[in-house]
């Protein structure tokens, strides 16, 4: 048992810090720190800076042009990136679709699509959830019917994150209705400019346009955009979901969030003292900080196993549940800390306007973030689904 990082890992951390100090634009880190919504140009700019460094595709093998970082390196990156208020890397192309293409795609598909992800030529979004298929994803109803050299797609996807920016969508579609649900699903790559596709915004409860509905009416998709074999899409989808879970614990986000709570609570006065010195508030902060310290080590234990070749199974579900509980608790502390100044609706701030809202403790849109991050325990397999997995796997004695 040794809790210290190796010399190589320490050197890696220094490299990451130096890079972030030098290359992360202040305009971007200020936005992230203040909870201001990033636009497409912001995200493209950050991706481009990372790509120039060779650090955009962190999890890709070197043979595909990736950095091929191991799990500990990725963990160090996530800690440092969050501490420096770096924008998150948009995951849809890089860490969701790419691993599927690398494992199941044809050589032609790999050669065509992967470089375009790195350059930003393609912006991908995810077509999984449907109005009737959320937690029960395999019940999806969007159909793809073969017609010559094309599939004809009809149906509706929903909760499509950043779909308004995307030119490509990877979709789970039903290609066989007469078999067991999981056995009739295929994985299709669809150009968003194809006639018959309509993207409709969904405005979330904090007023933000982050997710969309995507409607398909007789959308013709070339058969070469089928990934792997027809009706094997569920296998690829499950493979993708395991990759969606890297950084599932969100340790870096929680650490940055906790630092932000303390900053607000040191500025906010409660009586004659800063709120941070109020015993009840300090106790709330301390409790979540102790939880985070332990979870951070849980995360590292699992990561070390993965780095040594072990596959995280039920542990990933545990990290999702605990990680989101902690992040949401930190969001709750931030809104508490802001006091009456949590009440103003900071929509202007979130859209990047210069009109400053009243805010003596510089808390920013903490209440909006509290509500927005209720999504953390809902998406990517709700916490109820994760608990079901933990119990099912553990009680049956294996996956």
């Amino acid at each position: 048992m040794d809790l210290s990082y190796s010399d190589d890992e320490k050197a890696f951390r220094e490299d990451v810090r130096a890079f972030l100090a030098e290359k992360l634009p202040t305009a971007l880190s200020d936005k992230v720190r203040d909870g201001v919504e990033l636009n497409k140009a912001d995200m493209d700019q950050w991706h481009s800076i990372l790509n120039d460094q060779g650090w955009l595709a962190q999890n890709w093998p070197k043979s595909f042009g990736g950095a091929e970082w191991n799990a500990v390196q990725r963990h160090i990156w996530e800690e440092e990136a969050a501490a420096h208020n770096a924008p998150r890397i948009v995951p849809f192309g890089l860490s969701m679709l790419a691993p599927v293409l690398q494992k199941f795609g044809s050589k032609e598909q790999q050669d065509h699509w992967l470089p375009r992800i790195l350059t930003g030529e393609d912006w991908w979004c995810q077509g999984y959830s449907e109005p009737g298929a959320g937690s029960d994803l395999a019940s999806l109803k969007t159909t793809a019917v073969r017609d010559g050299d094309h599939y004809v797609v009809n149906g509706q996807k929903t909760w499509t994150t950043l779909g308004q920016f995307a030119n490509m969508i990877f979709c789970l579609v039903r290609t066989d209705k007469d078999v067991k649900q999981q056995e009739g699903i295929s994985f299709l790559l669809i150009d968003m400019d194809t006639p018959g596709i309509e993207v409709r915004p969904i405005i979330l409860l904090d007023g933000v346009h982050e997710v969309n509905e995507v409607w398909f009416t007789d959308v013709r998709v070339p058969v070469e955009n089928l990934v792997g074999e027809e009706n094997k899409g569920w296998t690829y989808a499950k493979y993708l979901l395991t990759h969606e879970r890297t950084n599932i614990a969100g340790v870096g986000f929680s650490q940055a969030g906790l630092a932000s709570v303390k900053r607000i609570a040191r500025a906010e006065m409660a009586g004659d003292k800063p709120l941070m010195q109020n015993p009840h508030f300090a106790a709330r902060v301390a409790q979540v900080e102790m939880d985070l310290m332990a979870m951070s080590t849980t995360n590292l234990r699992i990561i070390s196993q993965a780095a040594a070749g072990g596959a995280p199974g039920v542990e990933a579900s545990m990290l999702k549940v605990k990680g989101t509980i902690i992040r949401q608790e930190i969001n709750d502390l931030a809104r508490r800390a802001a006091g009456v100044y949590a009440m103003p609706f900071a929509s202007e701030a979130m859209e990047g306007s210069n009109e400053a809202l009243p805010d003596p403790n510089s808390a920013g849109p903490v209440a909006a973030q509290y509500f927005n991050n209720r999504k953390l325990s809902i998406f990517g397999g709700s916490n109820e689904i994760q608990r079901g997995i933990i119990a099912k796997v553990t009680m049956s004695g294996g996956a």
Partner: protein, 377 residues
Amino acid sequence: MNFDLTEERQMLQDTLRRFLRDKYDTQTRNTILDSATGLSTEIWEGLAELGVIGALFSEDQGGFGGAGFDVAVVFEELGRAGVVEPMLDTAVLGGGLIANLGDDAQRALIEKLIGGALHLAFAHAEPTNRYDLNRVQTSAAADGNTITLNGRKAVVVNAEAANVLVVSARESGAIRDTDGISLFLVPSDTKGLTVQGYPLLAGGRAAEVTLDNVQLPTSARLGPAGKAYLAIEARVAAANVALNAETLGAMETATALTKDYLMTRKQFGRPIGTFQALAHRFSDMLIEMEQARSAVINAAGHLEAPRDTREIHVSAAKNLMGRAGRLVAEESIQMHGGIAMTQEYELAHIAKRIVMADHRFGDTDHHLERFIALSAA
């Protein structure tokens, strides 16, 4: 013991519930939320016509209610419908202070208010006082027949719509002294008064109010000089009864929507409410809501009690509502899933009302500490 509503209050509840059910759906409210004023004059006048404002004042004040249970009945219905119109600010706070403290000339405003033709705001909180009612830095200096106000007031709800602001200011004493605080009626067009408005996350609008050498005649003072603190505390107690009842009403809507959703939404071939993991959590919501209902009854029933008894119940209720409200809001969203995160769905607004109530007149921790202090006294 009798926990039934009186016939009058039952009628008021029925009428108000029917009015809001007919007039105040999600789409109507979203239009109001997007509007420049953040409130509907039509709804406001409708509420006045129904006697809703009058129900918040006693007979000798020109109304026909005014007791804790009148306040609770009205606000539970406003909360159930997620109403964003500033009944709390205009009637309970502004109107209540004038009715309790005003001279004959000042109390003449109440008739207009009950008729729906006057808006008020209570400008008390300041940028660094968090939830302390006694911490007042805004100054009032009397010189002959003129009083001059200077200072800044924070997150003054309904300040833009208000025809008159009820402003607290210190005439004497140190920053935390309860003694030395006075109230003043400041018409919205007074020179030196600046109102910088913005929307609120849970609906309605507020403003930062700056008083820069605002000059008032002595007749603008509401009640005796320097002795307003206890009256403010008593009115904030009424405001907390109102806010707690409103939160209870919102929690009832949240649980009703969740129940419907659990019974109609199917995943894995069955209604999700048949999964025990969700069914038990729904039951916990109902259990906490009954606790909340009793806390509201306790606070409303002791609003006319002596100060210490009243305040213990106010703090107990506000602390419990903060805890139960958070549970109901978060669990309702979680059990709905994504749909509850969308602006179009009723629960999104209702959940915001519930959680953001924790940010007015003292949050869960503030009232925990206050309860401990009051219990020890």
